[in-house]
């Protein structure tokens, strides 16, 4: 047991990362923050549409896309992988809808079938390639990523200036793009999530927004894949918005809380992983879940709950934030 849980050494856990190992720590934390925040922002809309498990499905099913793209183009440039994963994500959504529309299979089973089969295909391809020695994709990377290796990448150089590890830079850009897109299309995203019928009557193309959201989901999940793997990305999609929804019923506040939660879980997760000497991404998920449980217990304790119920009383659906800014 002593071997399993290292002793709690204040200096090693809390001081060292920010002093001697600063150059590594900062990028792990930043990457964790970028991933959690970008996934969480998109996840907010998934949660509103009650599609949290579509996030689960897509994050699993991008794997065969990645592997196939690699097999076809024989090199793992970002854009090729990206394209493969993106099309795999959209394929999943299409398969789910096909099975659901064309047969008597219910949507929940359709989701489960679509993503597990694609994931199985991905793992099967990956392991047969690996056994032939063609490529080496780490199975562990698929499961929980390699966030600790990100600071070791040769840094991106832009105009002669070293910015940082390319994965982190890419994830940062994705985060900024997602945040900007939410700011620009705030009202469209809100209305289509809140009331599809209303959105249609207002002349919006709901299916376009649906697929736009799916596209955004695929983008964040693909970029997060490297750092946190396929399955832990689900946690990043679902847990921050749940934390935010637990504390507020107003969408802009929720978005803010999501970002705050992302930062907190990145830092907490880092220290946890330093202490226990375990997977960084896993520790960040544990930290994120822990924060949600705290919020949950807090609301159960009462004080916040009363207020949020009082707010609920005047909103149409108690599970949706108020449409205040419309």
């Amino acid at each position: 047991m002593q071997q399993l849980i290292p002793p709690f050494d204040w200096h090693r856990i809390f001081v060292q990362p920010w002093t001697t190992d600063f150059s590594i720590t900062i990028w792990v934390v930043l990457m964790g923050f970028f991933v959690t925040a970008a996934c969480g922002l998109v996840g907010n809309y998934l949660l509103l549409r009650r599609m949290a498990l579509i996030g689960d499905a897509i994050s699993h099913s991008i794997l065969p896309g990645l592997v196939l793209a690699f097999m076809i183009f024989k090199h793992n440039s970002t854009w090729v992988m990206f394209l493969g994963a993106f099309s795999a994500g959209l394929l999943t959504v299409a398969i789910i809808e096909f099975i659901h529309r064309q047969s008597r299979i219910k949507p929940d089973a359709a989701i489960c079938i679509a993503f597990t089969v694609l994931f199985a295909l991905g793992v099967a391809l990956m392991s047969s390639l690996e056994s032939q020695g063609t490529i080496h994709i780490d199975a562990e990377c698929v499961l929980y990523g390699e966030i600790a290796f990100i600071p070791l990448e040769p840094p991106t150089v832009w105009n002669g200036m070293e910015i940082g590890p390319p994965s982190a830079v890419r994830m940062g850009i994705v985060l900024v793009v997602v945040a900007l897109a939410i700011a620009v299309f705030y009202k469209e995203l809100l209305v289509t999530a809140f009331d599809g019928g209303l959105a249609k009557s207002l002349g919006m193309r709901t299916s376009v927004w649906h697929y736009a959201l799916m596209g955004a989901l695929a983008i964040v999940v693909v970029s997060a894949f490297e750092a946190v793997g396929a399955i832990l990305a689900v946690a990043m999609l679902i847990v921050p918005p749940m934390f935010a929804a637990q504390l507020s019923s107003i969408l802009p506040v929720r978005l803010g809380l999501t970002v705050l939660h992302a930062g907190l879980s990145a830092v907490l997760g880092l220290h946890l992983s330093v202490w226990l000497n375990c997977s960084g991404a896993g520790a960040m998920v544990v930290a994120a879940a822990f924060l949600f449980v705290l919020a949950w217990l807090g609301t159960m304790a009462g004080s916040i709950r009363n207020r949020s119920l009082a707010v609920d009383r005047c909103s149409r659906d108690e599970n949706l934030p108020q449409v205040r800014s419309l």
Binding site: I5, R50, G55, D56, K106, T116, L143, I231, A281
Partner: protein, 486 residues
């Protein structure tokens, strides 16, 4: 009969496990070609291989049975969440004595699974989050805890070679005798429980409210099913892997659902599909030099599902498409018959023959089109085709009369009973005429007092005209057929 089959099958499998093992460890096998390995697989020479195969088949049975209830209760994603949530339990079970002890891992994982199910229930009851969020949370956060524990174990000396990584994507070859016995016990338990309480599980799955009104302990049956589900998941982990157990639960059951309308048969089919996919997965995993088993099992199950989805006799996509096609072909044929009748009627039944040119004019189509349609009709034996003309056979005359009668009766019914204007009823009758059954016709005739004329003043063929077998001869004019008397 059907109830006996499964246990028999099961015991057969269990007794196949031999006492003596002159085994080579699978990793030590030196056969080089795929062929050699395939031969080795089918001769069942090695005990470890037998373990792998029997284990995979048993897990297929367990998962198929439990998956059936998941699918009909719309709990597929619950299976997914629970199968991810057992991961920390696996790690803790391993930590119990730092070895891959099947029982310790089984207990740990079951506890973790039940804890996950409890957390889902708790989130749903005490927060405003919906089912999907609760499932997603448990799935992801439990899995995260599991990952942390796993990476911690790997740092412990001796933890690295523990073979715990096999729990991720599954490796049937790593099944030991203990694992197979465990699987056998779970399979017997699952089959037995489902067989004994079939009635109770059916009614609580179909209509829980009604079951409760009968005074049944619905909650107990629900939780016992969840417990069995947890057992099935946990005992299957090593061969299929954490990530893909849910696929083995849902896919065979979904394939069975495409093929049958009875729960009993669905259970049986799902178990068989599960068993077959298990065996196929074990085979590919072995032939391909210890590739992970789970993905291949899932792909085998997916192939079965795809076949059922497309070619299922009643609900399959292709079958439905085919039925639709043949229906529209029939409608087309019947429309041609009707057109011939109309031409005959226009000629006041003076001749049996209808020239193709007349028919083409009537249908406003080219001669070639008409010829093609008539060839299709001739295949059903309704018409005799000459070089430039066509006549009805007796059965053709009958069918044509029926169609025209259905059309005109329906028009009359719509104008008389539904008060729709006479010039608006044609379109509707065009569709109805092909699907009106004999019973409905009798009712309509009665309702309309056996009227002889439709709203446009045309004669409605009656039963005597239909039984005539050919177009009316001049002598039959007395019955009112032929040119309308002025």
């Amino acid at each position: 009969m059907r109830r006996l089959l499964l246990p028999l099958l099961l015991f057969g499998c269990v007794f196949l496990v031999p006492e003596v093992a002159h085994a080579v460890r699978i990793s030590e096998l030196t056969d080089s070609t795929m062929m050699d390995r395939a031969v080795r697989f089918f001769t069942f020479r090695d005990a470890s291989l037998r373990n792998a195969l029997i284990g995979s088949m048993l897990l297929g049975i367990c998962c198929g049975l439990m998956g059936t209830f998941l699918v009909v209760r719309k709990l597929a994603l619950m299976g997914d969440a629970l199968s991810h949530a057992v991961l920390p339990g696996v790690a803790l079970g391993f930590l119990w004595n730092m070895a891959k002890d099947p029982l310790a891992i089984f207990i740990g994982a079951t506890i973790a699974g039940l804890l996950g199910a409890g957390t889902i229930q708790l989130i749903r009851n005490t927060t405003r989050h919906k089912e999907d969020a609760a499932l997603g949370f448990v799935l992801a956060s439990f899995f995260g805890v599991g990952i942390c524990l796993f990476t911690m174990i790997q740092n412990v000396p001796g933890g690295n070679k523990s073979g715990l990584d096999k729990f991720m994507f599954g490796q049937a070859a790593s099944l030991g005798r203990g694992d197979v016995w465990l699987l056998a016990v779970i399979a017997v338990l699952a089959v037995g429980t489902v067989a004994i309480f079939y009635k109770e599980y059916t009614i609580t799955s179909f209509d829980a409210g009604f079951a409760r009104s009968l005074g049944m302990p619905v909650q107990i049956f629900h939780y016992s099913l969840m417990l069995l589900l947890a057992f099935a998941i946990v005992s299957s982990l090593q061969a299929v892997g954490v990530v893909l157990v849910s696929a083995m639960l849902v896919i065979p059951a979904a394939a069975a659902f495409m093929l049958t309308d009875r729960l009993g048969i669905m259970l049986l089919l799902a178990a068989i599909f599960g068993l077959c996919s298990g065996a196929v997965g074990a085979f590919f995993s072995f032939v391909g030099r210890n590739l992970p088993t789970g993905p291949f099992m899932v792909l085998a199950a997916a192939a079965v599902f795809a076949i059922a989805l497309f070619f299922g006799p009643r609900h399959g996509i292709v079958s439905r498409w085919w039925r639709q096609r043949s229906r529209s072909a029939r409608v087309q044929r019947e429309n041609t018959l009707k057109a011939i009748y109309h031409v005959l009627e226009g000629n006041e039944f003076r001749s049996e023959h209808v020239s193709l040119r007349e028919l083409a004019e009537r249908r406003r189509e080219t001669l070639e089109d008409v010829q093609r349609q008539l060839t299709a009709v001739r295949r059903t034996g309704f018409v005799t085709l000459f070089s430039d003309a066509v006549t009805f056979t007796p059965s053709g005359w009958q069918r044509a009369c029926e169609i025209v009668r259905n059309h005109r009766l329906w028009e009359l019914y719509l104008t008389n009973a539904a008060h729709i204007a006479a010039d608006h009823v044609h379109e509707d009758a065009e569709k109805i005429e092909h699907i009106l059954g004999e019973d409905a016709v009798r009712q309509l005739e009665k309702r309309l007092n056996y009227a002889r004329r439709d709203p446009h003043g045309k004669l409605i063929p009656g039963i005597e005209d239909i039984s005539l077998g050919s177009i009316p001869q001049p002598a039959d004019r007395a019955t009112g057929f032929g040119p309308a008397p002025h």
